[in-house]
Subunit: 351 residues, 2 copies
């Protein structure tokens, strides 16, 4: 596959160029721990919302004249690791089309790197859709979600729009995400506070492998089905209080798993994986106070220091004011999202 | 008992004055959660070490001329709540002696308040011993430990010397602490870093009641017997590496329970009890780095922001240097302890 630069399995009748976009997503019930690390089969279902403030736009153009894939990220040449992952993903779609023509891939994020927004989620969702479109494939949402998942687990949740559930499944064919409710179903906001942009000590990929090191993992596995039910129902019924309590408890549940996942790195023992910055903790505690002061706000966290503050849409200004009062002289950045649509074609292939 | 100021049950033949001292202690396997809140029967055994840097000295003098107990703390009149607890504890010993004479109680801590050192542990241990001595009672260590426990749970561990285990038991008679090894058994040091002296949002007493709110409590209860075995063995065998890993995992386990003990306060929901300050988190992460740099150091934490750094005695200067390099311009205070003796009489009753 795809290393000679020659057509092997077939020809492309409508060789062309497509541009797709996808939003990043924020999980309310978390993906942490994998059954299969090769094709990203998670230990449990997860539930998420697409984020309007974090969008990736990707253009894919297959060209017989190329001797290798040519990838740019925000106008620059990315790391070999990044390009390698993109090529590996293109291979998955080339295999479906039985071709091995190389492609030009341009990808642009409208949000800064290392902010705690998963650009791999929006990135692989946009890449999957742009590639399948450029290849003239007519894949359904489920197939696109399965393909995106192979690139990066949580990318499968950025294919459908709005509020989404990823069914863990047990194999490549039954692990995919589907829409629970569209983006306009519920007017809630994510006020994301980016408190630090440090390189992670332990990558998410490594962290996933450590989840079961925590003595609390079996308890978490046990409580997850009930939590999924409650979060699903709270979203469908637009029950913000239940939703908020569940997602905040869920974030703490995931981070306690992380912080109790003891492991060794280069012979040195660590008691857990610590993703919080000092400012993260300060915000978690501030949220308890803000609620006591009557602001309807609950936090969630991903595998990083960014704090996502969820509130009803009409309270976003109030939450931003509370954040700014706490911020003082610190250089935090705030990104506000509403629920966003799924992956979509911006410019289809020329006929 | 003891509210009329008159002798009821008997007279005191050797009415006199005694001074006792006791050290605070640091738990390696934690006391968090109670079976009985009235007389402090814990959910599990705990293991601790007395701390040389934190000592309370208490003088108790019974006097027929007093119309009420008269308590001073570090030379000042304490809160009514504090005095009330002291009087209630004096009652327990007056009941044994069948007298109801009031007493003058002077108590002095050689360490500042709100540092994260349990002055209630050293305080009730010293008060128990000074009172029993002033009353001419000849109580054995087990009885003193049981009495101290009724004043404040962890005070029972400050009666025996050195390394101590508190047997949870199931009733007043079988819940007490005993020595595992004397203070000179093992040369280890506690470098305690006091990063903040804020008033706690949730007191330890309230926190204990919330432990079983955590969905992770059953897992913790399950892992504790194994941990107690391993910590006991590590102390007896002076196996610092096993000891360190166990106590750091244990501290994180307790704080996991705390941070996932969801509850309501005045109608406002909190996802957990947060005892860390931002600087606490910074130190926990720094410890991981210091170990990677070859410093033999592990942390433990109580219900507060103070970080206790445990190291072999000969490494205390190295650990202090690492702390100072991290501290920068912040006003942390550092208290270094070695294992300390148990409660003892400073000045016995005049015959």
């Amino acid at each position: 596959m795809g290393i000679t630069g020659k057509l092997q399995g077939g020809t492309i009748s409508k060789m062309s160029k497509s541009t797709a976009m996808a939003h990043s997503n924020l999980a309310f019930v978390k993906y942490w721990g994998k059954k299969n690390t090769e094709i990203n089969i998670p230990l449990n279902n997860s539930i998420s919302m697409n984020l309007s403030a974090a969008r990736t736009t990707t253009t894919v153009e297959f060209d017989d004249n190329l001797a290798a894939d040519k990838v740019t990220l925000d106008g620059h040449t990315p790391t070999d690791k990044f390009s390698g992952k993109v090529s590996k993903h293109l291979d998955r779609l080339r295999q479906i089309s039985s071709i091995d023509t190389y492609a030009r891939v341009q990808t642009e994020n409208n949000f800064p790197a290392a902010t705690g927004f998963a650009s791999s989620a929006s990135g692989f969702a946009a890449l999957t859709l742009a590639t399948s479109s450029a290849l003239g494939l007519d894949l359904d949402e489920k197939t696109l979600s399965i393909l995106a998942r192979q690139g990066s687990g949580s990318a499968c949740r950025s294919i459908p729009g709005g509020f989404v559930e990823w069914y863990a499944g047990t194999s490549n064919e039954d692990s995919y995400a589907a829409q629970m409710a569209s983006a306009d179903h519920w007017d809630i906001a994510d006020v994301a506070v980016v408190v630090a942009s440090q390189e992670k000590d332990v990558s998410s990929s490594q962290g996933h492998l450590l989840a079961e090191n925590s003595p609390f993992w079996p308890s978490r596995a046990e409580l997850l089905p009930g939590r999924l039910d409650r979060v699903r129902r709270a979203i469908m019924e637009r029950d913000f209080r239940t939703f908020g309590r569940e997602i905040e408890a869920e974030a703490m549940s995931m981070h306690t798993i992380m912080m109790t996942s003891a492991h060794e790195v280069a012979g040195s023992w660590r008691s857990g994986v610590y993703y919080w910055a000092a400012d993260t903790l300060e915000l978690l505690i501030a949220v308890q106070r803000w609620r006591a002061d009557g602001i309807p706000v609950y936090f969630t966290l991903d595998a990083g220091p960014t704090v996502h503050l969820m509130c009803p849409g009409e309270h976003r200004a109030q939450v931003m004011a509370a954040v700014e009062a706490t911020q003082g002289q610190r250089e935090w950045s705030i990104l506000v999202s509403r629920p966003a649509t799924g992956a979509s074609i911006v410019t289809g292939p020329e006929e």
